[in-house]
């Protein structure tokens, strides 16, 4: 039997998060700080997916930039088209400058429809992940090979986008976004609205991920991570189990990218390549990839540290970021979220079997 406090722990934590994000932060922070927090929360949304795919599923997802970018570009393409329509132009501003013709490329056209563009921010990354995952997991590619493949994909997409200057804005990416579904982003009130949407989406996805974690599927996913062969002998197909985690994580990254666009006002190949893709997992690794709250707080903390520390120590930040990643992976694989468990274990040496149980329970939050 669970005690009352145990039963209230999860809803209580959720409520606390909701009050902090939706109640206190908007009052306590200036417009500028709140817009920074909105950006960090986008990274946190990616971290929710990383926590699922990497933390629970053991998939080294080092190419989340691809999905973040697909979602971001899908959203930005719609917003650019809406801006152009507002000013009476047929094609977005950068196409007039760098383009070769006055006609909109065919693959831009459907993004003028807001419903289509919104759906694509999630479905397009999921479809790409499904295709990649289907090919990769079937062939039992895993570990470092999967990580390298993810990175190659991220590099390829960013190079392709840079090459298509006339239709994607090249290195500049899609910038100078004026409106968000009819609301002017110049208005601080609307910037706040964007923040609330992002915070709500984060909470929603955390709730969804937590339900996945504690469901039978969540247990199966952990089982696949810890012993894929045994799961196979039990009659499950590990490829399908991994595929679901990978696709869901991609959808979350896509949604994060889509929300990043109105929050920051830009999406560019610089947010998609290898370095940002590694950046997406560092926060989760530091905070604790298997713990949902750890991953989310880690992502927010690392992004915040980057903004603050890079002011004081511009040259040192990159090294510090790398060091954090190495330390977390090498010495604290469970991240900061597991610190308590690790220390407790040190103090009271337990038999290996019990240890495993302790770790699992500690990670379940």
């Amino acid at each position: 039997m669970k005690t009352i406090t145990e039963r209230l722990r999860v809803p209580g934590a959720f409520l606390l998060g909701a009050v902090l994000l939706l109640g206190i932060a908007p009052v306590a922070l200036s417009d500028f700080r709140l817009s920074l927090l909105a950006k960090y929360l986008c990274y946190a949304i990616v971290a929710v997916g990383v926590s699922l795919a990497w933390g629970r599923g053991g998939l080294m997802v080092l190419g989340q930039g691809v999905f973040f970018g697909l979602g971001g570009y899908a959203m930005a393409m719609h917003l650019k088209l809406a801006d152009a329509a507002d000013t009476g132009e047929k094609i977005p501003d950068f196409m007039q400058l760098y383009g070769t013709s006055d006609a909109l490329p065919w693959w831009w056209k459907p993004f003028a429809n807001p419903a289509f563009a919104l759906a694509m921010t999630v479905l397009l990354p999921m479809a790409v992940a499904a295709l990649v995952g289907f090919l990769v997991f079937r062939r039992r590619v895993k570990g470092a090979y999967f990580a390298i493949l993810s990175q190659a994909l991220a590099a390829a997409l960013s190079i392709w986008l840079i090459g298509q200057q006339a239709t994607t804005g090249g290195t500049n990416g899609l910038t100078d976004i004026q409106g968000f579904f009819g609301y002017s982003l110049d208005d601080p009130v609307n910037q706040r609205m964007v923040y609330f949407v992002i915070a709500a989406v984060l909470l929603l996805l955390m709730a969804l991920a937590r339900q996945l974690f504690v469901s039978r599927y969540g247990e199966l996913l952990v089982a696949v991570r810890d012993s894929e062969e045994r799961v196979r002998f039990l009659g499950y197909d590990p490829a399908n189990v991994k595929l679901v985690a990978y696709v869901v994580a991609a959808g979350m990254a896509g949604l994060a990218g889509a929300l990043f666009v109105p929050a920051v006002g830009i999406i560019s190949p610089a947010l998609i390549g290898i370095v940002p893709s590694i950046g997406f997992v560092i926060g989760a690794a530091v905070g604790g990839r298997a713990s949902l709250v750890g991953a989310v707080l880690g992502a927010i903390a690392v992004a915040w540290a980057q903004s603050t520390l890079s002011d004081e120590f511009p040259a040192a930040w990159t090294y510090l970021q790398g060091l954090l990643f190495v330390l977390a992976v090498g010495f604290l694989p469970g991240g900061l979220a597991s610190l308590g468990t690790v220390l407790r274990r040190r103090r009271t040496p337990a038999t290996p079997k019990e240890e495993k149980v302790v770790v699992m329970a500690g990670e379940a939050a």
């Binding site: 909701a18 809406a82 290195t171 609301y183 208005d187």
Partner: protein, 417 residues
């Protein structure tokens, strides 16, 4: 797949979160309504000092170039403060690191305007970083002074473009090549906005003026693999190479170029992104005799330049070269000072209104601000790399050229924008 059971409670959490946020969300101005609620950030001019923002990449791949610009901005601030400041107020430089990352540039620009309440910002190097900060400066009606030559086709009301636009660098360079009888060009560039736009202009020029582009190749930014491109260049029967490569790629390109037996005599290369600083890092032996196009060289004659070079080397080291973007950054602060003093106010609208016709005796020669385009009249200078690593001028346009960012005054360019 079995076991995908989402409990009702989970959905309840989510729904309540959405509901709560919807309740908290008030909707602001619609697009195009023109009533954005006082978005202009007020610069703080109340104290005895005013803050100026310096926005450069102090870390990341662009740091090697942008730190030199940052240094000359600091030098100008120091000099201006030593001579009494601006409107009696001392300048306090606030440095922010753009970290060679475009969204970071946007974030830091906002920090400078909203947190530090700077009166003006100086910096950015790459076009991508400028495009990223442009909406921020426009939203808050704050000024950016941009010190680097660029691809033109832009006129933001809140940016002053102190570097050359295309008709002050690329077009004169083409005129020069044509005059030398070098009419068959091979275009080599890094894959980003500036080279692609520059090459579009070059192709339009070539077509109209009887020149011929015999090849065009792009390498990814930072690429160091050039054997294929150099072999293609060698076999294309070109008279000259027009080089818009940026950064490290130049090192690999020119090494490969030399080892393929190509020289400044047999097949000259005209570069638009190689200044004194880059000559040093590529190696003079690879570049000797090759051509460059800029508006300023360390060797440009005149008392103003002598003073600038001496002051820079006194502050940062005897062996430190000065370059075009550094000079443009340095004069951008002086031009802003002149504008503010003419306006008698730090107010952005008044400073903009006062900008037209401001002249300054710059190290590159006399420059004049064109108020309509917020660009600067500049003299184009073609240079040749000498054996000492410095660049000697071989030709100049004689007088400052009026900036024409959209190339409206050139009939052959009518199809470009």
């Amino acid at each position: 797949m079995s076991g995908l059971s989402i409990s009702r409670r989970g959905l309840l959490y989510g729904a309540s979160a959405l509901g709560a946020s919807a309740a908290l969300t008030a909707c602001g101005a619609k697009t195009g309504s023109g009533t954005s609620s006082d978005a202009g950030a007020k610069a703080d001019t109340s104290g005895s000092t005013v803050k100026v923002g310096l926005l450069n990449s102090l870390s990341g791949t662009m740091a090697i170039s942008e730190v030199t610009v940052h240094n000359s901005l600091l030098l100008a601030v120091k000099e201006i403060n030593a001579s009494g400041g601006v409107l009696g107020k001392k300048l306090k430089p606030i440095s922010q690191d753009g970290a060679s990352d475009w969204p970071t540039f946007a974030e830091k620009a906002e920090a400078l305007i909203k947190d530090d309440k700077v009166v003006a910002t100086f910096g950015c190097w790459t076009s991508a970083s400028r495009k990223a900060v442009k909406p921020v400066f426009e939203r808050y009606k704050s000024l950016l002074f941009y010190p680097v030559q660029y691809e033109g086709l832009e006129e933001s009301p809140y940016i002053f473009y102190i570097g050359a636009t295309t008709n002050q660098q690329i077009v004169p360079a083409l005129d020069y090549l044509k005059k030398q009888g070098l009419t068959r060009l091979y275009l080599v560039g890094s894959d980003y906005v500036f080279p692609r736009t520059a090459n579009k202009i070059i192709k339009a020029y070539a077509e109209a003026k009887g020149m011929k582009v015999v090849g065009e190749d792009y390498a990814p930014l930072g690429s160091t693999e050039f054997s294929t491109i150099v072999n293609k260049v060698k076999g294309a029967g070109a008279d000259a190479v027009f080089n818009t490569l940026n950064g490290d790629s130049n090192v690999a390109f020119f090494k490969e170029y030399k080892s393929a037996g190509l020289t400044a005599k047999s097949l000259p290369v005209l570069s638009v992104s190689i200044a004194e600083e880059e000559v040093k890092s590529i190696g003079t032996q690879y570049l000797e005799g090759q051509l460059t196009a800029w508006n300023y060289y360390e060797t440009t004659p005149g008392a103003a330049n002598k003073k600038f070079v001496a002051a820079y080397q006194a502050a940062y080291g005897k062996d430190k070269p000065t370059s075009d973007p550094m000079e443009a950054a340095y004069i951008s602060l002086y031009l802003w000072k002149e504008m503010v003093e003419k306006a008698g106010s730090f107010d952005v609208a008044k400073v903009k209104a006062a900008s037209d016709g401001i002249t300054f005796d710059a190290p590159e020669g006399t420059v004049t601000v064109d108020g309509a385009s917020q660009h600067v009249y500049k003299t184009a200078r073609i240079g040749k790399v000498g054996s000492d690593g410095l660049i000697e001028e071989v030709w100049n346009s004689g007088k400052p050229i009026k900036p024409d960012p959209y190339l409206k005054g050139y009939s052959w360019a009518s199809a470009l924008s």
